[in-house]
Amino acid sequence: MSPHTDDVALSTTAERAAVVQAAGAQPDKDWVIVTRGLKREYDMGGEIVRALRGVDLAIRRNEYVAIMGPSGSGKSTFMNLIGCLDTPNAGEYWLSGELVSQKNDDELARVRNKEIGFVFQTFNLLPRASALHNVELPLVYAGIGSAERKERAMEALTKVQLDNRATHRPNELSGGQRQRVAIARALVNRPSILLADEPTGNLDSTTSEEIMKVFENLAETGQTVIMVTHEPDIAAHARRVVVLRDGLIASDERKENFTSKLGL
C-alpha cells in the first residue's frame, strides 16, 4: 500500500445515500457533486424524450469516477448537466456546495470557467491558436492578466510534458499530444472537477494508455476526475464506476481493489 491511498477520500454507499436523500439541504463542500432527482426531457417534435428520469448521485472530492452506459442511456445528457452546459427540468444539482441547477447562462459560464475542466473526445482545441494560447483560454475568460496567464499556462503544459511544444498548433501535434494539451487546458484554472467525455475515443490503444496514465496521476494528486465512456477497459481505470441505463442509475460500484489495477 502506498501512502497516498489514505489521502484519497472515497464515499461509502451509506454516506452517499444520506447526502443524496436530504433534499434541499446544502451538502458539505467536500461533496463535489450532489444530484437529487435530476430530470431532463427533450421535446423532439412533439414527442417527449425522457433522457434522465431522476438521477441521484453524490461524488466526494478526490474521487475518480467513470460514468458508463450504452448509447441512449442518458450519459451524454448527464455529462452536459454535470458540466453546467445544460440545466435540468427538475431536481437539484449542487457543485462544490453551490446550487447550480437554477443558475442563468452567464452564471453557468462562470461556474464552467471556475469549477470544471473539460476534456473532449475530439480534443476541441482552437485550430488556429498555439498550444499555449489554447491552454490560456480559460484564464482569459477568468480575467487574468497576460503575464500570469502565460506563466500558469506554461506550468500546466509542463505538467503534461508538453512545455517544448507550446508554440505548436494543434495540427502540428499528435493525437495524444493534443489530448494532453486539452488536459492542460482543463486543469489550468484549477477546477474542482476534471470532466472527460470519451477522452480516448479518438486515440489508439497505446496513446489511450498514455492518457489514462495522466488521469491516474491526476487522481493520485487529489484531482477529482469524472470520465464518461462506453469502453469497459477504460472505465476499469477508475475507482468507481456508475452505470446509467434508460435515464437512471443502474449500478454504482466502488472498486475496492483499484490499487492493484494501478500496479502498485
Binding site: N80, L85, R112, N113, F118, F120, L137, G143, N189
Partner: protein, 412 residues
Amino acid sequence: MPFLESVRLALNTIRVQKLKSFFTLLGVMIGVMFLIAVVSIVQGMSNYVENDFAAKIIGVNTFTFRRRPNFNPNTTDDQWREFQRRPRIYAADVELVRSVQPVGNTSAIVNQSFIYASTIYARPRQAQVIATEASYFDIKKLNITSGRAFTAQEVSAGAKVIVIGTDIVERQFGELDPLGRQLRIGGMPYTVIGILEKQGSVFGFSLDRQAIVPWTTPVSRLIQPRGDLQSMIVQGPTREVMQDGIESAREVMRGVRHLPPGKVDNFALETEDSALAFFDGLKKQMIVFGTALPAIGLVVGAMVIMNIMLVAVAERTREIGIRKALGAKRSDILSQFLIEASTLSVIGAAIGIALGLAAAKVVSMLTPLPAAVAPWSIGMALVLGAGVGIVAGVYPASRAARLDPIAALRQE
C-alpha cells in the same frame, strides 16, 4: 474578456484570412476613400476661396459698387428683369459715392471684359482687360516685375498704356521684351509699360491673362458701349471703415435716386462676403452630393461585413462552443464578434483614408482643383468605420452569443 485581448484576437483572425478579410473590407474602404477624397477637395476649395480667392479676385476689405450683383446664384427671371430695369451708373454717380467715402478709403473705377489682344508676332488671344485707375494696383496688391504701373496723370490724360500679365507676355511676345512694344486691344494700339508679377490661377482660371489699361482710354467704350461705368471698387483700411463706406454710399445713392424707405436698393454694394456666401452654398451642395455616393458605399460595405460575419459565425460555431464551455459569457462572445467586425471595418476605413488622401493629392496635381485634408474628416471616417462595423456586427454577434454550447460543440 478585456478589450485589447479581443482586438488582438480579431487581428489574429484577420491575419489568418488575409484575402477574405480584404474583400470584406473593400466596401468600407472604397466608401471611406471617396468620402475622404471628396471632403478633402471640397475643403481645399473652400480654403482656397476663403484665403486666396477672396484676396486675389475680390481684394481685402473691399466692396464693389455696381448696377447689379456679380455673385448672385439662382437669379430668377423676375430678379433678372429688375436688374435690367435699374438705372445705369455714370461717372457722376461714382464721383458722388467717392465724395462721401470716409478718409482712408481708396477707390478705383473698374470696367472689365474679355477682349482679343493681338500683336504682329502671334495670333490674337483673349485677355482679361481691366480698364481702371492707378489706385487699382494698390487695392489689388499687384506688383510690377519690370517696367512700371501707369500714373494718375496718364489716367486723366487718357494715355494708351498697358500693364500685362505673364501669360500675355508669353503668348504675344514670346522671347521678346514687351516693354515699349505695341499690343492691340480690340484693335486699338496700346504701349506696354509694365509686366505684372505672376499670380497663378484660381480653379484653373489663370490670373496672368490680365491686361490693365487706364479707364479713360477707348477700351472702356468697347466694354460699356453706352458710356456708363461697370463698377467701382472701394477699399477701406479696416473692415469697419469699409462698412462705413458702404453705408455712406447706400445713403447717398438712395438719396440721389429718390428711393423712399421700403423700396429696395436699385444698385448693388457687394463685399467679399457675398462671394463667400455664394461659395458656401456651392460647398454645401458639393458636400451633400459628394458624400451621398460614398454613403451608399458604406451601406454596401456594412452589408458585406454583416454577411461575412454571419458566415464566420457559422464556420466557427464549434469554436464558439469551445469558448463557451471554457467559460465565455454571452457578452464575451458578443464583444468578440463585434470587435472583430469593427476592427475589420476600422482597418478598411484606415486604408480608405490613406487611399482617399492619395486620390485627393492626385486630383489636385492633375486638375486645378485644390485639395486640403480636413482633420475632422479623418476622425469622422474612423468613427464611421467603427460604427459601420458595430452596426454590421450586431446581428451576427448576437446570433453567436445566443448559440447553445452543446449544439455548438456537436457541430462538425
